[in-house]
């Protein structure tokens, strides 16, 4: 049983309508509009344009990478006031723009670390675990080193982007991003 194709203009020799015709007539139609004919040139064009798209995509990725490496000139922002955090405490803040969530942790009385909170695996927010000296991602049990941001276990393979911090008079400022992109 076939459905009527509006593009079908040729009649079968027996004169019966399309729906009474055998299935092979649908697969080998005479009418050009109902045929899926691809010429060699079309196929070559498809291959060529697809390859070109890949090349353009690669060049685009390279350009993006160059852009990332350029000094961004990020603003200096105060993220924690004096004695706001006890040792082992954390604070969530947005840096350098709203929505780019970062997490600041006081690992020692004179040492702070801050990382972008997006897990480098699938962008879940990571949770600092100072008692285990790591940051943990709850989604797929990814674990990052709290001191360096390097992945320790789980699916992530890239380190967390680390924020450059400046401490003066107990106040903590974010002044830039060391690696990666928020």
């Amino acid at each position: 049983m076939r459905i009527e194709n509006p593009d079908s203009i040729s009649k079968a020799p027996d004169g019966r309508p399309d729906r009474d015709q055998p299935a092979w007539r649908e697969q080998f139609p005479i009418d050009w509009p109902t045929d899926d004919f691809r010429s060699r040139r079309d196929f070559t064009k498809l291959l060529g344009l697809t390859s070109l798209a890949f090349v353009v995509g690669q060049i685009w990725i390279v350009l993006l990478a160059f852009r990332r490496r350029m000094p961004l000139g990020l603003p200096e922002m105060e993220v924690a006031s004096p004695d706001e955090l006890a040792v082992g405490d954390s604070k969530i803040f947005d840096y350098p723009r709203a929505g780019a969530t970062c997490v600041l942790t006081r690992v020692a009385s004179d040492r702070f670390v801050a990382y972008g909170q997006k897990c480098t695996h699938l962008s879940c927010p990571v949770i600092p675990k100072p008692e285990k000296n790591c940051l943990q991602c709850p989604c797929h049990e990814g674990v990052f080193d709290l001191a360096t941001g390097r992945p320790l276990s789980g699916p992530p393979r890239r380190p967390l982007p680390r924020l450059r911090l400046k401490v003066s008079d107990g106040r903590v400022f974010a002044v830039g991003i060391e690696e990666g992109v928020l």
């Binding site: 040729s10 005479i30 050009w32």
Partner: protein, 214 residues
């Protein structure tokens, strides 16, 4: 682009003077690769100067495409049956043998069946086919039905042909005398009857009232 529906091809063999201009012009169509796909049939030179230009009739149920084992012969949406697709044609000659009008030709050098495609590169952009544009007697006419009705008041176009048990309707029209009124040309009757020579009665029109050219 498509062939405009208002324009149709009319074949009027009675006007053919056998000048071969169409044969020459056909080979100059851009898509015909320098080969002529029209043929000028000489009927019976001993008894008549009649010649008939043979162009593809562009059947509604193209026998050439029906018999093609390689699915190479295609008909465009506007009803023009194209030459065999080069990547598919296997040069088996089925279409050459099957066509009731004897249109497809095998180009043995190129292993490709080439046939009249109504100069699709020209007609699809609104131009006349090469043959119709050069025919001095307009035995090959490309234009509207109103125009040909005005120009040839004693003729009528038909596009139904009976080949034995096979009835064929075509996109190209054949001009036949208006009287006797004729709706289909029974080609097979020519073979069933005795050769015309006894009384001069046209075997093609036998059985119709009158039986003589108007």
């Amino acid at each position: 682009m498509a062939v405009p529906e208002s324009h149709e091809f009319f074949l009027d063999p009675g006007r053919c003077i056998g000048c071969n201009a169409c044969v020459q012009a056909c080979s100059e169509c851009d898509t015909h690769k320098g080969y002529s796909m029209i043929q000028l049939d000489i009927l019976d030179r001993a008894s008549s100067p009649q010649t008939i230009p043979v162009v593809c009739m562009h059947c509604d149920s193209p026998t050439c495409a029906e018999v093609c084992p390689a699915d190479a012969i295609k008909r465009t949406g506007d009803g023009v049956v194209q030459s065999a697709r080069k990547p598919r044609c296997i040069a088996c000659n089925n279409c050459v043998l099957a066509c009731p009008f004897g249109v497809p030709k095998m180009n043995t050098g190129m292993h490709l069946m080439m046939k009249c495609d109504m100069c699709y590169d020209r007609t699809s952009v609104g131009k006349k086919p090469m043959c119709a544009s050069v025919c001095p007697s307009q035995a090959l006419y490309y234009g509207t039905r109103e125009d040909i009705g005005r120009l040839r008041p004693r003729s009528q176009p038909i596009h139904t042909f009976q080949f034995g048990g096979q009835e064929i309707t075509t996109k190209v029209h054949l001009m036949v005398p208006r009287r006797p009124a004729l709706f289909a040309l029974d080609v097979g009757s020519a073979f069933r009857l005795a050769p015309a020579g006894d009384g001069g009665e046209d075997p093609l029109l036998a059985g119709m009232d009158g039986g003589a050219l108007a």
